[in-house]
Amino acid sequence: MINFKSISEIKDLIFENKNNFFEILESTIEQLESKGKTLNALRFTDKDFAIFQGNKIFSEKNFELPLFGVPLAHKELFQRKLKGGQAWPNEGGSESRKNLLSDQTAKVISLLDKAGSIDCGRLVSVEYAFGVTGHNEYAGTPKNPWNRTYVCGGSSSGSAAIVASGVIPVALGTDTGGSVRLPAAACGLFGLKPTQGLVSRDGVFPLSTSLDTVGPLSRNVEDIAKVLQIISGKDKNDNLSVKINIPDFLTEMKKGIKKISIGLPKNYFLDGSDKIISDNTVKVFSICEKIGAFIKDISIPNIETANDLNMLLISTEAAISHKKIALEKNKSFNQQTLMRILSGVFTSSEEYKKLKKYRIGFIRNVISKVFEEVDLFIAPVWPCLIPSINESDLGANDKAAHLVRRIGHNTRPINYLGLPAISIPIGFDENGLPLSIQLVGKPFSEDLLIRAAFSLEKEFCFWDKKPKI
């Protein structure tokens, strides 16, 4: 009933006829279950809870709520505690956490509840969110709606698959090394990674306490803006959360990009990507110029170091959080995940301190240099065409290792810098899979990223075409 509809279109359907409220909810849950099964993207639905929440929202009749009656589902890392001591599973996509339950409700989930949305269930994540292809032996590997023999990317693979299949308008993911942007890009979605500190991570299963961020995936920029507005803001329970004036993203969205300066990185990003990727990225610059932006060549100092150190920081902090269970239940882990976590156990506390200290100076250097020259820059997301499930399966294919190591090349440094970025679909490759770029902005410039993304959305009209499920 709400296939491929935006948040505002769903709300219009509800206001047109209030009887649609529960019909929309029930049909969405059915679609989550059927397409979720077809695409291996669903962990679970909770129809009883969704109906209970729907009844509460409907009876309160607060029709002004920004997400009144809109059914959503999110990556399985977002905890939910229920009344009467019950709770949703909190397995982190892993057999090692089988039957473990949430001990709280994630802050961002509470904010979406207050905004009137109906939480229908949880979507597949890569084990411990620690992978970029989307493979998951335990929960199942989500299939790309555009071509089901191809990956969705990771780790927010289920979120990307379900949103791209049209079932719901938006889903939340997490991004530590690219895990919102990579699956968004692979599935033709807009996926926003916010500035470190903008959105609370309280109640979200952690991978890296310094680098984890929470962000939305959607088929359109307006819905990204709406959800980001709701989930942004200071939270005392997240030690990295900052108090900052949150702009009105929807008002900013329509301002266009005339006279905005956009950087074309001459080092690292395009060189490290396949020619078809860099050629398609460069074409985007001409479109930006056409709609009024200025393009400037930039060079980002020492960015290759950011890639390596991001990996070390993630594995060190993953080891700090999960070493105990990794040792005790090592046989219940996918061997790749285990290897990634355990590669962080050898970092001493002195080395960890140095790692964090170096990062601070590095960020200061890069942002003062780059953003003195430009307002934002463009880079590819994937450095290569989206791979098939088989060719990128580390367990089954010896040649997959080199491919998988490359995938985070363009996304990881942005996480290391703590900067905001949004992936934008721009077309299709020879296999019928989406091609995408990312815009990267100054700290807390999500309003500018949303403006630029909205302008480009109108140029590329990616979602004039739909995948057939």
Binding site: L327, L342, V345, F346, D375, R451
Partner: protein
């Protein structure tokens, strides 16, 4: 199995992994990856007079650029 390890901290960790009955080949791989990554860190130099947190870097940056208009 990993040989010639002189770092006492690494030896301690390797013993923990062996005690947990983790596959020896995996231990070798993990140790190799870790050593390479830590080597990258060893080659970095910490700058003088940097803030204590990333949040402070961002706050300083925003303060410096607060008159930027788009």
């Amino acid at each position: 199995m990993v040989k010639n390890v002189k770092n006492n901290y690494h030896l301690k960790i390797l013993n923990e992994l062996e005690k947990a009955k983790i596959n020896k080949e995996l231990i070798d791989n993990v140790y190799g990856i870790s050593k390479k990554q830590i080597e990258t860190l060893k080659n970095t130099i910490i700058q003088d007079k940097i803030p204590d947190t990333v949040q402070e870097v961002f706050t300083d940056f925003l303060e410096k650029n607060k008159n930027d208009k788009f």
